[in-house]
Symmetry: C2
Subunit: 495 residues, 2 copies
């Protein structure tokens, strides 16, 4: 690890760079529980803003929140055949409900007499417990649709973990909706994918490709899985969110039927959709640079940090007075401002610290600026600064600057993705592209078979990220098998 506040550069070791940002920007750290992280206050404040924005978007689209149990009886997992294959394996299993004093000495031991009749699984996802509940909520078409979301923690026992990207416990939201018709359920799954894409692009400033997963990459139990895929700076894809059309699979597994308008019984149609703290990983890896985190203003806990410059106490008093005045006017304009007036730290140290933490705009004010009615405005994303007049509409200047930053980092990320998305037509081009420093997104023809998909992955490590929704029909030949294909799909190495 690089010493002090200096980061390992992306070129030197991308993976180490990522770990250092997470740690040094005070986002998260590994806990003493294997695979579980502690989300630190600064990281959690960003996640809270994500939650709040998404929650508002869910509510605007007619959803309500609810809460279902953490534990799932083991037998529930086996009710949907594909689901058990996908999810029932690497789970935390509760087998006992009591400890007792160790008869041999200190500490506590599991009480063998407190063994559960049926083991409980800590939820890896909640389809099973929720559909067993929906059975009691749904009798007639009048009870539909059910548009419920849950904010919760889930556990999937992962052997190789990385903070935010893959942890044993993570935080997420999971929407679980129930519908009277197939059309309505499909429409819902696509609607929520669009909500995710809008959130990623507008709020996180992360451009994403929307598409459908291949059969092999679908969620366990889904008929269709839709995804948004981002491209990270090392040229690897990150799946940022998924939305599933579940057909009637869970309704059949849990016997959830409704009487339609003709009073005939039908199975209910389902969707589920989720995004998680993994989005924090996408946020970090899309925008940050060798100086640290770069945050979009929409999610930054502090949008503006103000740093006073002074030598003597009288200077400090004057500078602080003006700074407080400016801060008040910025706050009144709805801008999140922090004044860093800690007098045990030098200004240079503070500059580096807030740069590391990704605050979009830094204002520095010294005695000479004060005399001239000026202030230094520095922009984190471009690492540029200028001295400007403190006008009456300075709050508007800063508001516009923040909007520019939000747009600027999106445009930069979009250009990166466009520069690193290639159409390839032969297996040689395909494998050569993946050898690049930035392998990127590859648009290639595929014959549509799982067999070819597996061979491509085994030989190249690239997977089909999605069949893009905005892709055009085009005659071509599969990049691997040479068989005919009607459209290009998106390949990449992925997290």
């Amino acid at each position: 690890m690089a010493k002090g506040n200096k980061l390992t550069s992306r070129a030197e070791n991308y993976s180490e760079w990522y770990n250092e940002i997470v740690k040094k920007a005070d986002l998260a750290e590994n806990s003493e529980v294997r695979g579980c992280m502690v989300i630190k206050p600064y990281g959690y404040a960003i996640w809270e803003r994500m939650q709040r924005t998404l929650d508002d978007m869910f509510k605007e689209t007619g959803h309500v929140n609810a809460y279902f149990p953490l534990f799932i009886p083991k037998s529930f997992l086996s009710k949907e055949a594909d689901h058990v294959e996908g999810f029932a394996k690497e789970c935390a299993v509760v087998t006992h409900y009591r400890l007792k004093n160790d008869p041999d000495g200190k500490g506590v031991v599991v009480d063998p007499e407190a063994k559960l009749e049926e083991e409980l699984i800590v939820r890896p996802t909640s389809e099973t417990i929720i559909w067993s509940t929906y059975r009691n909520w749904i009798q007639s078409y009048r009870d539909l649709p059910i548009l419920v979301n849950q904010w919760a923690n889930v556990v999937r026992w992962e052997l190789r973990t990385r903070m935010f990207l893959r942890t044993a416990e993570f935080l997420w939201q999971e929407g679980h909706t129930a519908h009277a018709t197939k059309e309505e359920a499909v429409e819902e799954s696509i609607k929520m994918l669009n909500v995710y894409a809008e959130f990623a692009e507008k709020t996180m400033a992360v451009p994403v490709v929307k598409g459908a997963k291949s059969e092999r990459e679908r969620f366990a139990g889904a008929l269709d899985t839709y995804t948004i895929e981002g491209l990270m700076q090392d040229g690897k894809a990150l799946q940022c969110g998924t939305s599933h059309f579940l057909g009637q699979n869970f309704a059949k597994a849990f016997d959830v039927k409704f009487a339609n308008q003709n009073n005939q019984e039908e199975y209910v149609w389902a969707t589920s959709w989720g995004v998680s703290t993994r989005l924090m990983g996408a946020l970090i890896m899309t925008h940050s640079d060798d100086s640290g985190l770069v945050l979009p203003p929409a999610l930054a806990p502090h949008q503006v940090v103000m740093i006073p410059i002074y030598r003597k106490d009288e200077e400090r008093a004057l500078v602080m007075e003006k700074m407080n005045e400016i801060a008040t006017s910025l706050k009144a304009a709805g801008i999140r401002v922090k004044i860093d007036d800690d007098d045990t730290k030098r200004a240079g140290w503070k500059f580096a610290e807030w740069e590391l933490k990704g605050v979009p705009v830094r204002l520095a004010l010294g005695p000479r600026d004060l005399e001239n009615g000026k202030i230094e405005v520095a922009r984190r994303d471009t690492q540029t600064k200028e001295v400007v007049d403190i006008t009456d509409h300075f709050d508007q200047t800063i508001k516009e600057l923040l909007d520019n930053v939000q747009e600027g980092i999106y445009e930069k990320a979009l250009k990166f993705r466009e520069d690193n998305t290639r159409k390839v037509d032969t297996w040689e081009e395909f494998t050569a592209a993946l050898e690049d420093d930035i392998p990127g997104f590859l648009l290639a023809h595929w014959d549509g078979t799982t067999e070819t998909e597996e061979k491509i992955q085994n030989e190249s490590k690239a997977t089909i990220r999605c069949i893009p929704m905005d892709g055009e029909e085009e005659d071509g030949k599969c990049v691997y098998s040479g068989k005919p294909s009607k459209r290009r799909v998106l390949f990449a190495k992925a997290y």
Copy 2:
């Protein structure tokens, strides 16, 4: 259970009345996992408002949120001696991390080869995992105070559960703060108790008595536990929230020291404080009546429900037009309004339904009202209604009405508590009072010993709820032992 929407009355069977409100008002239901409940959307919407209000209050008092692991290594629990006695017993224990297909046939079984080296406990509270983390966060006095809160689910394996009041899994917040001095930690624990009391009284409209717990009733590991106690309509007390001064116990158990300003090492001082979904139980049992839930406007998902009255389609169109106009103006005034325009239900059915769900104000508008420029305004708490003019400042009329309801239900609950708080001076008075239909709060002298406290509980079922903070010094004799006492303490039967 009473049939249809009619509730069992409180007089008939208080406990059944409570269960029916929880179920029929769509607040929560038991799940298929023993002791765990499903919080339904209407109930969760109330909890979300509680969360939002409390979270704002925590942030205003300088706290930030973070997130710590769900799992706690078994050995952590035994590090603080009192804590292990109080918490390590009835817990959910994770012993394995994998399932496998049952070799004998269908379903899945626990894979015996995937046994954890050290069992993990699903957190019953997070002092241990958090203080093991704070060790790395704290070196010097400059790192203090740490003012962190966590919103989380916790699990305590309860044998006898009741929805919201006592469930195996529940949702809560837990604040965990670290301080350089004892004085500051004590001040923090009392500050947060005051935050809880203000929230209970202003937002929930639930009057509470603030006080300190007796040594026997303290949190496991605390030097002092402060509590807010509410009085339910059956005359039993409900502990609504607690705040603990933990001294240096957890710092010593997890070796958390800091260098003070003189560069000497000291152990850190701690507090923790929490409220949970149990507050939903307090809310229900304080205000509701035999017609159903009564909600304070500050927490009601819908503050006003509007019901159109009509026979013919033309009438419906006219009534709905006016209703939408009024709804728009109420919403613009910041009032949460729902128009129930479901035309498959009769108006009378809707009246009963929204009464059951506790909506503070109901507006009904029919064709004759429309002609006369009038509207029927019904108030849930007093079950009174009147026909009023639709004036230009109707939104202000409703705003004031909502304020009156908020205040009115608080005053009513306060009067109930005052009417049912008695000073008793002899053991005969004490036991006789507890035999009443509404045993209520008893203010009695106590000799200060755990021995007497236990005997009182064994013989009367009453416990010391708290030593009230606003109690006056007064010479007296212990109601049980006759020994001298300097102040009255608050006794009650309790949930």
